[in-house]
Symmetry: C2
Subunit: 138 residues, 2 copies
């Protein structure tokens, strides 16, 4: 399962994508829309900004806004940023690989093989779906 953090990040991006005509959107408004704690969301938006998805403006009249085109925001990247690995096992993770301590020989592990397949199919979707696709699905 995705963490709430990740889920909220996706919601926040969706909200920002829907309000691109506004120069900025308040954390407060997003938090209210989804019933999320303001402070929790603040940390999430900060992370998204540091990762280059969002811009912000401080002070009165400030807020957040998307700085990437929705079509250029791959869901896989957002999930990895906030949640870490997408794969079901560390030994098949492309971005967060770690060997499994209990496994003597990964190349002869049947579990590894199945999970690699799951990873491939999952990534086939998440790498090709963008925020634009999410917006289109609303």
């Amino acid at each position: 399962m995705l963490s709430k953090k990740t889920k909220y990040a996706l919601h926040a991006l969706t909200y920002l994508g829907k309000h691109r005509e506004n120069k900025t959107v308040l954390i407060h408004d997003i938090a209210e829309e989804y019933g999320i704690s303001h402070k929790f969301l603040e940390n999430i938006l900060l992370e998204l900004r540091k990762a280059g998805y969002l811009g912000s403006k401080k002070g009165k009249g400030g807020g957040y806004y998307l700085i990437k085109e929705p079509k250029d925001i791959a869901l896989s990247k957002v999930i990895r940023l906030l949640d870490g690995p997408i794969a079901l096992l560390p030994c098949v993770s492309l971005n967060y690989y770690e060997p499994c301590a209990e496994c003597k020989d990964e190349s002869h592990c049947g579990i590894n093989k199945v999970m690699a397949q799951v990873r491939d199919e999952t990534l086939k979707i998440l790498e090709n779906k963008s925020l634009q696709d999410v917006l289109d699905g609303e």
Copy 2:
């Protein structure tokens, strides 16, 4: 990511599948093979037994053994038993469904739609792959 519990369960089933010619296999031997804590594994095997995957024999000379054919043990079922939902969000889980508190209308949620697609592709694999496939992949 799958929990260690689930991963160990899959390893244990694999081990038992490989040693079907033995009448029983000791927890101890499985734990040693994979470097897992005996007691932790004990709880896992107990759960697999209660779910009808394993039989056991108490007392001296006792141990565990598979009571299903490896081809009849779907990976999806094992994962659900030990880890819960396979889906990435509660709102797209078939077996552990829960609505997302922040979502007003699931049928118009773009995130829901993508995650349902991921679930479908994941299940296409995990429901059709069995312990036998794991054994064949070793």
